[in-house]
């Protein structure tokens, strides 16, 4: 319960301390503003851990590029830029829709909020479908990570590990980065579906929309990682 004191301490607070307890305010928070600020800060700290986790993979990519520049440049021709480009546009649009969704929650436009969440989930699905086609193309050509690398026109045979710094390292890192990013897209879709269901029950409005905002923040980070991943893996010569 909230305890507020008049400016000079001492005097009794203006109104009883047990004002109507809004349904969404957890018992241990004093004011809704404190709860919202805490939730948002928690989300930003969580985003910090996500950035640091992906930084490990970006460092692995940087070292592979530094140690084997020819291999990386030659091997990344096998990645299809159109598919990557489509995925980038899809993710940026989904970022846009989730941002508009959060804005809709703020102005209590429930219909728009629900449509935007649905659109984001749909776009995430498209992203995964495009990724499925990309991966299946790789599987067919045998461009697989590490010891499963059987693309015959590059490595001779399986028993001897493919030539040092062979493309298996690049594809190992490629599958790790896009795979981990893909896992985060799937997680994002699940959480967004849960938020969509709560939005349908009308839980969110101008006075309480933190869950929508946090899912939005998470989704923007997933988009951010892809914004860096796409040029590094697909485009850079």
């Amino acid at each position: 319960m909230t305890t507020t004191t008049a400016p000079h301490g001492g005097a009794a607070p203006p109104h009883g301390h047990d004002h109507d307890h809004p349904s969404f305010l957890a018992h241990h928070f004093d004011t809704p503003a404190q709860q919202e600020a805490s939730a948002k800060m928690g989300m930003w700290v969580f985003l910090a851990t996500e950035i640091l986790m992906f930084s490990g993979l970006f460092l692995a990519y940087a070292i592979a590029r530094w140690a084997y520049p020819e291999m990386v440049l030659e091997a990344h021709h096998h990645l299809s830029i159109p598919m990557g480009g489509v995925n980038t546009v899809v993710l940026i649009t989904s970022s846009f829709t989730v941002a508009v969704g959060v804005r809709a929650a703020k102005i209590d436009n429930q219909k728009l909020l629900q449509w935007m969440l649905l659109a984001t989930i749909f776009l995430a699905g498209c992203f995964l479908v495009v990724k499925y086609f990309e991966y299946s193309a790789k599987f067919e050509h045998g461009l697989l990570p590490g010891r499963f690398y059987t693309a015959d026109y590059i490595a001779k045979d399986l028993t001897v590990p493919s030539p040092l710094g062979g493309p298996h390292t690049f594809f190992g890192i490629y599958f790790l980065m896009t795979g981990l990013h893909g896992v985060h897209v799937v997680l994002g879709m699940c959480v967004m579906t849960w938020i969509y269901l709560r939005a349908r029950r009308g839980e969110f409005g101008p006075h309480f929309f933190t869950p929508v905002e946090n899912v939005g923040l998470y989704w923007h980070l997933v988009d951010l990682v892809w914004i860096f991943l796409f040029p590094l893996l697909y485009l850079v010569k």
Partner: protein, 566 residues
């Protein structure tokens, strides 16, 4: 309901009507296992953390006994086999699995979560004047993640066994047949628990302080927990990605760390130590926080150099990310990087020195009562200073070439980990035991045990310094017999240490039920946790206290001759 100022709360709490404490609030296993009360989660963490400590500690005693003699005399009997050579080979494997279990469990399952998760969880909201941590359900989730992760690691080690050491160095960890993948999965899960606890504490400290508690009115224990949480947030994700890369290396052979496939094993050491060196500061910083509280309260004197200690905690948290290379001076790292890391390593030694000097200065002109927590506090000053000073030997490049991976390193980190964190943890438990359980521990028995632990600890680990400088390498199952004297002393010491710790565990458990009733403020502490009932009520305070003094203003400080100003 008028707000009670801190002084009012201190005086009034003892006698007014006793609300049911958090223990009596609801009973039954389900009430405990699904609680979101930070105090109950803190107690559950305390129980699980100490269970793992005694499992890993018992194994340490087992292979300490084994090391009594140069050959594998003890383990040879535990292992079957057709001929002497086969038995010997299996005994060596068993020894490697034992020291890996000891290292792995102690680091990941005991010492990383020890103080922050148990005492931190219990006292952070209390000291802040808050009703609970910012995300109580997340707090319970992190406890269960910890329990699941720890049991996966124990399953992996007791099942197929793990013989890579807690450092998982490649290429050995990618080529050995033991359960590396399962163990890394376990540690991966425990990493999440560490991240979530850190996240919870940072948000609670930022957003849920009692009105009036500005940053310089926060107890130093909370500064230390804050610095620890910052490291947990920034370092643990890199451990997650390192373990993921290790598992991918083992299963898919992506070749980042495997030299035959174009990788570089020293790269794994960079990834690993980027987490693991800040992790050793996750382990020691909460101990600094506990010691600041104990020494100030039990010498009834304002802590000396409040800002110096607070800022040095945060400074250590930041600089700890720059120094990891000193674990790799002889690993084939470039000379330029070795010199750079050595210089930065000496930068991190200065804030630690400032802390120790400030604690000793706090004793000056105090009124020191030799209670058990204070004995542990003074013991900490002795053992941790040795641990810290021996770090300087390992930081100097030329000396580290000789001392790296020898028993000197083993002694150094045991003096810092056990002499530092475990001693501070015991001090903290005794200091806050009346507040946590509402009962007092047996004072005289407590003092005796602290002396036994002091003697046992020094007898165990000081000879290892000399064994190390004489060249005894680390992780050796059998050794040449010129080192026998050091191992004999060390084994005898470890038995004494084991006995001392065992008695402490027994009398603490007994005192939970049979200890005599404790008052709300037995030591005359001035921080907020002493301003409520012991054991505290479910939502901590009858009404949110507001703070207008800093937590070290003890009643008997002689303000008339005010030499020091605010």
């Amino acid at each position: 309901m008028a707000t009670t100022t801190v002084e009012g709360a201190l005086a009034g709490a003892a006698h007014d009507h006793r609300e049911p404490s958090y223990i009596q609030a609801s009973s039954g296993l389900k009430a405990w296992l699904f609680t979101i009360d930070h105090k109950r989660i803190g107690m559950m963490y305390l129980a699980s953390v100490w269970t793992f400590f005694f499992i890993a500690g018992a194994l340490a005693l087992l292979f300490r006994l084994e090391l009594l003699t140069p050959n594998l005399d003890l383990l040879l009997h535990l292992v079957g086999g057709e001929n002497a050579a086969m038995i010997h080979a299996k005994a060596l494997d068993l020894y490697n699995k034992l020291f890996t279990l000891h290292g792995g469990l102690m680091v990941f399952a005991f010492i990383v979560p020890s103080i922050p998760a148990s005492l931190g969880n219990f006292f952070l909201p209390l000291m802040l004047g808050a009703k609970d941590v910012a995300f109580p359900k997340l707090n319970l989730a992190s406890y269960y993640l910890y329990v699941i992760g720890a049991s996966v690691v124990v399953y992996a080690i007791l099942g197929a066994g793990l013989d890579t050491g807690w450092t998982f160095y490649t290429p050995y960890s990618t080529t050995t047949g033991t359960a590396v993948t399962t163990a890394t999965l376990g540690v991966f899960i425990m990493g999440f628990s560490s991240i979530l606890t850190g996240l919870n504490f940072i948000v609670t400290i930022h957003k849920m302080r009692a009105p009036g508690m500005t940053w310089n009115r926060m107890p130093l224990f909370l500064w230390a927990i804050y610095a620890t949480s910052v490291i947990q947030i920034l370092a643990t994700p890199v451990l997650a990605i390192t373990l993921l890369l290790l598992v991918m290396e083992r299963t898919l052979g992506i070749g980042i760390f495997d030299p035959a496939m174009g990788g570089d094993p020293v790269l794994f050491q960079h990834f690993f130590w980027f987490y693991s060196h800040p992790a050793v500061y996750i382990m020691i910083l909460p101990a600094f926080g506990v010691i600041s509280e104990i020494i100030a309260v039990h010498s009834k004197k304002h802590i000396f150099g409040y800002w110096a200690i607070a800022i040095s905690s945060v400074a250590i948290a930041i600089i700890s990310f720059l120094v990891w290379g000193h674990h790799m001076f002889v690993s084939g790292q470039s000379e330029f990087a070795a010199v750079l890391f050595s210089f930065l390593t000496f930068a991190v030694a200065v804030p630690t020195a400032i802390k120790v000097f400030s604690w000793v200065a706090t004793l000056y002109k105090g009124s020191i009562s030799f209670t058990t927590p204070m004995l542990y506090g003074l013991m900490f000053l002795f053992t941790f200073t040795i641990g810290g000073l021996t770090g300087i030997f390992l930081g100097a490049l030329a000396v580290d070439v000789h001392l790296h991976d020898t028993y000197f390193v083993v002694a150094h980190f045991h003096y810092v980990m056990m002499g530092g964190t475990v001693v501070a943890f015991l001090g903290g438990i005794h200091h806050w035991w009346p507040k946590m359980t509402g009962r007092m521990y047996p004072e005289t028995l407590g003092k005796i045990c602290s002396v036994i632990i002091f003697i046992g600890f020094n007898l165990t680990f000081f000879p290892q310094f000399i064994a190390g400088t004489q060249g005894m390498p680390r992780r050796y199952a059998t050794y040449v017999d010129q080192y026998t004297i050091y191992h004999e002393l060390s084994t005898v010491g470890s038995l004494i240490l084991g006995v001392g710790l065992f008695i402490v565990a027994i009398y603490l458990l007994v005192s939970m039920f049979k200890g005599k009733q404790a008052s709300d403020n037995p030591w005359g502490g001035a921080s907020l946790e002493w301003a409520t009932q012991s054991p505290p009520i479910e939502h901590n305070f009858h009404d949110t206290p507001h703070v207008d003094t800093d937590p070290y203003n003890f009643p008997n400080i002689d303000r008339s001759a005010s030499i020091g100003h605010h």
